[in-house]
Each structure stands twice: as C-alpha cells, then as structure tokens.
C-alpha cells in the first residue's frame, strides 16, 4: 500500500521535474553514486533550526572521540557514548555540564555504536566491538548484559570460527547496532553489521523471535544500522545498505517500506500523542565528497512515511552534519545529534512552524 503510494509520488515528481527546472538543480550532471545517494523525495520544505554553540562542556583533558551515540533521560541529562582511546560513556546535565563517566574500564566497552535511555531511565549501550548490549541502571551500575564479548583467548589460540549467517544464534550478536523497547518492556536489537536481523527478547532478556536475513527483498535487511519503536510496538529499522526504512509489527512480521529518504543511518521516534519519525540521510565517510551535495540532511516524517520537512546538510560548520550517527528526539523540536567524523555532539533547536 505504502510502497505504491510512494511510487506514485515519485513518478509524479519525475514527470514534474522538467517543469520545475530549478528544483533538482544540476540533476543531469550527478554521478551514478550521487543519484543513488540523493533522496528520492524532492521539494521538501526546509525546517528552520539553529545549533546551540558549545553545548557540552568537557573537563580539561577529557575528549570526545567519534561521536557515536547520544541520548537523553527524563531529567534532560545527556549521555554520550564515544570511541575514545577506549570506548567511554559520559553523562552531562541538562545544561551541558559534565556530570560523570559511567562504566569506566568496562569489559563490554570495546567499540561504541549506540546509546539509548529507556522509559525507566536505564541507560543501554550497544557495543559493536564487544558484540554486547549492556543495561545500566540510572545509578550507572550494570544490571543486565546481552550478547557476549568474544573471548580474546580464542583469538589468541587461533582464528575463531567464522560465524554462520544462517544460524546466528539466539543470544550472541555479530556487531549489533541499536536497541529499542515496546510498551511491555520487550527488548529489540538490530544485529547488525555481521548478521542481518532484528531480534525480540522479553524484558528479562529471553529470546522471543527474530526477523530478517541478508538481502534486498521486502523483509530482508542489509546492514540494519539503527532502529526505533513507536507507541504501538511497531519496529522501524534503518536498512542502510538497501537505502530504505523497513517497518515490522510487534511480532516482527514485515509491514512496509519507506524508500524515499536516502540512506537511513539513524532513526528516532519522538514520544507523546503525536509521534514523529526522524531519519538521517547521513553523508557517508567514503572519500567521495561530491556526495556532500546530495546528502547530510535529516527528514522529519509522520509514522506512515509522509515526509513533513527536512533540515541540515553535510559539512563541518555549526549546524551541519559530518557523519551523523545518532539522534535523540525526546523533545521533537530539541534534538541532540552525534557525529562520527567531527567528534562532536550538537543540540539543535527546530522551529517547524516558523516560515
């Protein structure tokens, strides 16, 4: 249903393109890579916004590395999960003042990928080096672990056995990417770079079901890089290498595809009675700077895939994005973003009603 709607829209836009000659400016000169990278949806209204300068205040001799994960809790505290010399998790208050480090020296902190905060203010770190999802209570102590860090001793004794993509295992991950929860506390994990699936566990970490194998057919996944849950318990997966968002129901049955917003690296769904879906068409780190002209923007959507607006572009200045990797949208008009290439986090104030 949704696919055909979008197809109509896209066809309509393609027909309309010659009429609005200025809209897809220079489209004829784009390289195949740029055409593939550019979002299909065009003429999307720009959402005015600004970035708060120097929001996070780090103590001397403490540095962010690749700004991988960012999330807020109900008090407005900001958590940043970053690839430093070691992977580290920092907490800041609502004014950006440094509060503390969480999980210092933790066994499961190997290579950060995402951090999320659940409705009870527990902090969840997804580590794609340790192959683990780690739950901290609000006090910052580990209360649950999922997946398992591969044993270094195995690697020392010889090459570990190659993972079997057909049988990825219920309780081990292969470079997991993200985590989310439904209203019952069931846990959903996108897994990830090595596997191509989303897995559902109960709130105590017991396996329920999974969906996805590697491929490009509907319901298949190719690098599920991020995910978000809506209030009804549907799961939205950023199917990055397939350049689409896939939606699954709470039992992980495939529902629909949104494939018009470029390459979704990161998804976030805001809470509240009217939920919005944010998706980042992230400027990729592949040394093709021509792609900077056709990527880097974030789309604001209805849950049904309707695109409402967009903001941002690729770049290194304040308010631009250089490898946007995670978005926090607890307040749909006050977003926190983290970037890989620029080792920073930004606080963005959106003004969607302003013209």
């Amino acid at each position: 249903m949704k696919i055909s709607d979008q197809t109509c829209l896209i066809v309509a836009l393609l027909w309309a393109a010659p009429v609005f000659a200025q809209a897809p400016a220079g489209a004829q000169n784009l390289s195949p890579a740029a055409i593939a990278t550019r979002a299909k949806v065009q003429n999307v209204p720009e959402i005015p916004y600004e970035s708060v300068p120097n929001f996070l205040k780090l103590p001397p001799n403490l540095y962010l590395g690749e700004g991988i994960g960012i999330a807020t809790n109900s008090k407005g505290h900001v958590f940043v999960y970053t690839r430093s010399q070691r992977t580290r998790l920092f907490e800041f208050d609502q004014n950006g003042a440094f509060v503390r480090e969480i999980g210092e020296g933790l066994y499961g902190f190997v290579f950060a990928h995402a951090v999320r905060v659940d409705p009870q203010d527990n902090i969840w770190a997804v580590d794609e080096g340790a192959n683990m999802v780690i739950k901290f209570n609000p006090e910052g102590r580990v209360v649950m672990t999922m997946g398992r860090r591969p044993e270094p001793a195995d690697a020392l004794a010889g090459a570990p056995p190659a993972p079997d993509p057909a049988n990825p295992g219920k309780y081990v991950f292969n470079r997991p990417t993200d985590v989310g929860w439904d209203a019952d506390g069931n846990i959903f994990v996108t897994d990830g770079y090595g596997n191509s699936r989303i897995v559902k566990y109960d709130k105590n970490g017991r396996f329920i079901t999974q969906a996805g194998t590697k491929g490009s057919e509907p319901g298949q996944l190719n690098l599920p890089h991020s995910m978000a849950m809506d209030a009804k318990g549907n799961a939205y997966v950023a199917d990055r290498s397939n350049r689409r968002i896939e939606v699954f129901d709470n039992d992980l049955k495939f529902k629909t595809i949104y494939d018009n917003v470029g390459t979704p690296w990161e998804l976030c769904i805001s809470p509240g009675p009217h939920q919005y879906l944010y998706s980042s068409n992230t400027f990729p780190d592949n040394n093709d700077y021509t792609l900077a002209t056709v990527s880097g923007e974030v789309y604001k959507m209805e849950l049904d895939g309707t695109v409402l607006g967009k903001f941002g572009k690729a770049g290194k200045q304040l308010g631009e994005f250089s490898g946007l990797h995670e978005i926090d949208c607890r307040n749909p008009d006050v977003l926190y973003t983290s970037e890989i290439q620029l080792w920073r986090a930004q606080k963005l104030m959106l003004h969607p009603t302003k013209k």
């Binding site: 210092e104 933790l106 044993e151 004794a157």
Partner: protein
C-alpha cells in the same frame, strides 16, 4: 538432546512441586515416579552481595573463591587490555583483575594489579594455607599469592607475543613460551589454556589443562612436575575440555569433562576409577570440606543459550541429592556458571560468565 530436556525443564519442575503438594494424600502412588525425578533444593540468591566501588566494575566473573576467614576473591575478565607492537610481534598485557571482599561483601582491595600474567581470567582457588591461586587461560599462567596479596610463585610461562591472525608466539629455543605444546617430547609443566587447580591433602597440585592439551597435570607441592595423564577424546581417561577439577579428602581427582558431559574420577595417580554422567555438561565442580563431603556440579548453559543452568548436589559416589537453579538473567537464575565455591556446603558463591556477577546462594532444607 540437551535442548529438548531444557524445553521440558520448567514443566518438570512444576510437576515435581505439584506432586509434592499432593504427596501427603497420594504419596504412594507418585513415589515411583518421583524417584526418577531430581528433587529441587529450595534456595535463595543474592546478586547484590558484593559491593564494588563506583568506578570498578565486574566483568565476566570467571572465578570466585573464599579463604578460611570468609574473605571472597573474584578473578574477573575486566577488559582494558593493552598491546604494543615490536617489529612484527604484538605483545599484549592486562585484561583481568583480582578483587578481594570481606565476608559481608564489602570491597577490600585489588591484588595483582598490573601483574604480567593477568590476561584472561579463568578461575581462582584458595589452598589450605589461604594462599590464593589465579588461573589465567590467556597467559597460561597460574599465579600464587599469599594471604596478604604478595606474589609467591608462578606456574607455566606466558607466550612472549601473540599473532593476531592466530596462534601464540613462543620463546626461542626450549619452547617454554609455547604453551605446553611439547615440541616432540612429553608434555610437561607448561600449560596450554589451563582451567583450574586443586590440591590433595599432601599439597600435591592437580591442574586441568584444557582446550587443546586435554589433560591433567600433577605437580608436587613445590611446583615440580610429577606426571600428566589424558588426551583429547571420549574414551575413559580422555577429555574434551576439562573445565574444572576438584580433589576429595582421600586424594581422588574429579575432573569436569565438559565436552563429554561427564565427571571423571581418578585415583591420586591418575588411574580411572569411575565416571558420573546424567548431570549435563559440567562446567564447574566443587567438593566441600568437612567430615561429609558433597560434590557440586553446574550444568551451565553455553553463552549462546538460556537452556539448562541447574546446579547439582551429589554424594562423592555420584548419587544426586538434589538440584537448584536454572539459566537466566534474574536472581536465582544463572548465566553460564564457571566456578563454584563450596567451603560452606550450604552457602555457595557462584561465578557467572555471561551475567557478569557473583551470586551468593543459600541452600535450605539440606538433608
């Protein structure tokens, strides 16, 4: 087979308690069936017994042991390892820590900080003189500390360097850094991924040397090599991942032969005596001290499952007295038990790999 049993396990437990409930009235009818079931031992668990300082975190709790004063030692995989390139060789250090708590669970101190052989914690045991022995499966070292935490002795040798694409780099000549690969000769006192250590009443040491060697090594109380037995296989006297070892007051040696799903019992010289099967895959075994010794064995879930997980309490002859627990992440559940301390047979400390914790278990109504 294991999976099918696991799926049925919760129903069986309900069945047992139901039968117990009706036992007062229909005891005779059900007693025949009950004898085929293993009784559930009622117990309490405490997963917050050990109190760590704010910036110290447990990793995989590979080893846990108590001394005669009730102090608790936890040898844990904390990560934080470091490496250095030297020419074409890669040297690695760190990755595990040994923490000490008092009998109330209060954190006392760390011992062995930064020591050469702490790479990948496997187990820790305390001997009759309250010395602490840390068994490291990454460095192949077994490191002895006195009660004050001072280094006393080390067994085996850490490979000098590692090859990240596979295999350990041995020292030149002698092969002593090669990890017990026995270059053409009899395997000696260098280990290849050791898993556990135990002592007989004379102080002789028995080391389970697990993964590729699959053997038991007997050393005298000074650390001098006496003999070794076992090889990889499933015949009596052979092993598939001997993951834990315990010795009773008569000097008999019990080996958790994990991959073969059995506990093998040997006399003090390594002659096969018997084997105990039907207790799943023993990852960790422990024999309690005292006049009446008990044998505990954990049928641990492998890290990629939440099946099984129960711990059996047995007589030394293998007669099962009861079981408790199941795999899971909640209290009174276990996540891949790798070591059990049973100095007090009714107060156990359980080291869990995948749950990153030590659980204090109190058994009730033990007969």
């Amino acid at each position: 087979m294991a999976g099918a049993e696991a799926d049925a396990a919760p129903d069986q437990e309900i069945e047992v308690s139901t039968k117990r409930f009706f036992c007062a009235t229909v005891c005779l009818l059900s007693s025949g069936l009950l004898s085929a079931q293993v009784a559930e031992i009622s117990f309490d668990g405490n997963i917050n017994f050990l109190k760590l300082p704010p910036n110290i975190h447990m990793g995989e709790a590979a080893g846990v042991a108590t001394d005669s004063k009730g102090n608790i030692f936890v040898y844990t995989r904390t990560g934080g390892e470091s490496g250095a390139m030297g020419g074409s060789r890669f040297f690695t250090y760190g990755g595990s820590r040994l923490f000490v708590f008092d009998s109330t669970g209060k954190y006392l101190r760390e011992i062995g900080t930064g020591i050469y052989g702490f790479l990948f914690a496997q187990s820790v045991r305390v001997d009759a003189q309250d010395n602490i022995w840390a068994v490291d499966r990454g460095s192949n070292n077994i490191i002895k500390f006195d009660a004050a935490g001072r280094f006393l002795q080390v067994l085996s040798r850490k490979p000098e360097s590692v090859n990240p694409t596979g295999g350990a780099g041995g020292g030149e000549g002698g092969g002593r850094g090669g990890g017990g690969r026995g270059r053409g000769g009899v395997q000696g006192d260098n280990f290849n991924r050791p898993t556990d250590i135990a002592w007989d009443p004379q102080g002789n040491m028995f080391v389970s040397d697990a993964y590729s060697s699959a053997r038991i090594v007997k050393l005298d109380k000074t650390g001098r090599f006496i003999k070794t037995w076992g090889s990889k296989g499933s015949e009596p006297g052979q092993f598939d991942m001997p993951n834990s070892v315990a010795v009773d007051a008569q000097g008999n040696v019990y080996v958790a032969d994990l991959g073969n799903k059995r506990i093998q019992v040997f006399d003090n010289d390594g002659n096969v005596k018997s084997q105990i099967a039907d207790v799943g895959s023993p990852w960790a075994i422990c024999i309690s001290p005292g006049a009446h010794q008990y044998l505990y064995s954990a049928n641990s879930n492998p890290p990629d499952s939440m099946d099984n997980g129960e711990i059996y309490r047995m007589e030394l002859d293998g007669k099962v007295l009861g079981k408790f627990g199941t795999a899971g992440k909640l209290v009174k559940e276990f996540g891949t038990v790798n070591e059990i301390d049973c100095r007090n047979p009714n107060t156990l400390y359980i080291g869990e790999l995948t749950n990153w914790r030590v659980q204090k278990v109190t058994l009730h109504a033990a007969k």
